[in-house]
Amino acid sequence: MKNFFKTAFFSLLVISGFWGFSNFGIPQIKPAPPPVEEKLDLGAMTMDQFIALGGKIFNGKGTCTLCHNAMGRAPMLDKVGANAEERMKDARYKGEAKTVQEYIHESLVKPSAYVVAGFGKSGSNDTESPMPDVSGGGIGLNEAELAAVIAYLQDSSGSEVTVEIPQMDAAPAEGAAPVEEAALKTPEEVIVKYGCGMCHKVADQVGALGPDLTKVGKSKSKDYLRQAILDPEAVIAQGFTGGMMPPTFGEQMKAKELEMLVNYMAGLK
């Protein structure tokens, strides 16, 4: 029995040593929580925002930069636009793309269609790509996200962006019909959601393309403001050109949101 306790004590001592080292001897890295699938609000996006979204996916959810980086795991994509033209003519090309956009799309979902020399799976003689299909499996980009990535790649490689922003209902890849969103609660949220601050100076945002709205209530009535949102071209403020502001807010905003926004602006004095 004595040995039972002696050996048990010794074992405990060793285990607590290892435990202590793992807990206090090394820095503890807090694991990131599992990624949440993001909902896209494509309707209100400009092409620049859409490209930026593509960049975000490229660097984040798409995990592209794990390999497409300077360490040479995968080809760099900084000239993909120019390269695509040549590759589609290459004898080794197995895909069906006709345009740069199609080529990039194909290389995202069927990476083996063209494998850049030297980057194939080992032993496959550059016929098979080690890259996963980014529309499935662990990365799981939907068509809208793919389009954003393509737009980003076209933009960043200096070629013309030919992608069109997909319609809203392309975003949720599957599942039930999109849930009717509840109306926003504060005017600040409305301003953020509809991106007013991109062009206007209002509510802590400092856009400079459109008129400054920080004291708009002083000179403008509620009716004027309402009209300016619903039909931006009706009256163009002095010193600004027409055709800049999207005419679609009337379809997008809820009546409650619109009134809240108008009341808020009327109060800015």
């Binding site: 001897g25 820095p27 890295i29 980086n69 300077a70 360490m71 760099m76 900084d78 960043s156 200096g158």
Partner: protein, 261 residues
């Protein structure tokens, strides 16, 4: 089994001396001779393994183990050593207490941060409203080094002026990272004289680092503190390229290039 043989230095003391010697060797080699201090956290772990190794060597024979344990046993059991025993039994708990106290004492030291050693530069970056590709970017003035040495000298001199007007406050007038403001910065400004800094880098990397400054460091390198300004807001593109010429010229280093490797 030769227990009667008297050793010049008792085994226990020998062991302690070996451990202490190794400890100070580490300090001497790293902190003094090489000038790169050994981090305390690492030294602690190193010493744990060194002690384990030393104890193993000193105890793997029966005789060695007994010689080692002998003095300790005598200290606890020998009636004639009562005085020493009492002293040790008072001092050891006090030392343990002091250690616990000092390690629990709150300090003003900021918590230890983990840093990524190699912040990979981006392949492309935006400066001066356009996009630069780091892999192909070259110093437009480097070619004059061979083609037109007189003009090159002129360019270096202009770069030197830019340096003295802008950079030396932190990086020092001898480019050793010891400018007047250097002591206020943590991490300290880079020492360009050191072989581990600009000599390891391409000119395009320097251009990126200078033009985008501390805020331009990639997110993956976080936590990363750099107080270097975003120089594209203050210097022209040409001035940066000239200052790079100056950095290499003054330190006598060559920029790294892929062509030579």
């Amino acid at each position: 089994m030769n227990m009667t043989k008297k050793r010049l230095i008792p085994r226990l003391l020998q062991m302690a001396l070996v451990v202490v010697a190794v400890y100070f060797t580490f300090i001497l080699v790293f902190d003094v001779l090489l000038g790169q201090l050994i981090p305390k956290s690492l030294l602690t772990m190193y010493m744990v393994f060194v002690i384990a190794g030393v104890v193993m060597v000193f105890t793997f024979t029966e005789q060695g183990a007994q010689e080692l344990a002998g003095p300790i046993k005598a200290l606890v059991e020998d009636p004639s050593r009562k005085m020493v025993r009492n002293v040790v039994f008072v001092i050891v708990p006090l030392l343990a207490g002091y250690y616990t106290y000092s390690s629990m004492l709150p300090s003003f030291e900021a918590p230890v941060e983990l840093r990524t050693i190699h912040p990979a530069p981006p392949n492309k970056f935006k400066a001066y409203g356009k996009s630069f590709n780091l892999t192909t970017l070259e110093n437009p003035y480097r070619k004059f080094e061979k083609e037109d040495p007189v003009k090159f000298k002129e360019l270096v001199k202009e770069g030197g002026n830019v340096y003295i007007q802008n950079c030396q406050y932190c990086h020092g007038d001898r480019l050793d990272g010891k400018g007047p403001y250097a002591s206020g910065l943590n991490p300290t400004p880079l020492n360009f004289q050191d072989v581990g800094t600009i000599a390891q880098l391409q000119e395009s990397f320097l251009f990126w680092r200078i033009s985008t400054g501390g805020p331009g460091l990639p997110a993956e390198a976080a936590p990363w503190i750099s107080s270097m300004p975003v120089w594209q807001n203050f210097l022209t593109e040409d001035e940066i390229w000239k200052v790079i010429l100056f950095l290499y010229d003054y330190t006598g280093r060559r920029p790294r290039s892929w062509a030579n490797e």
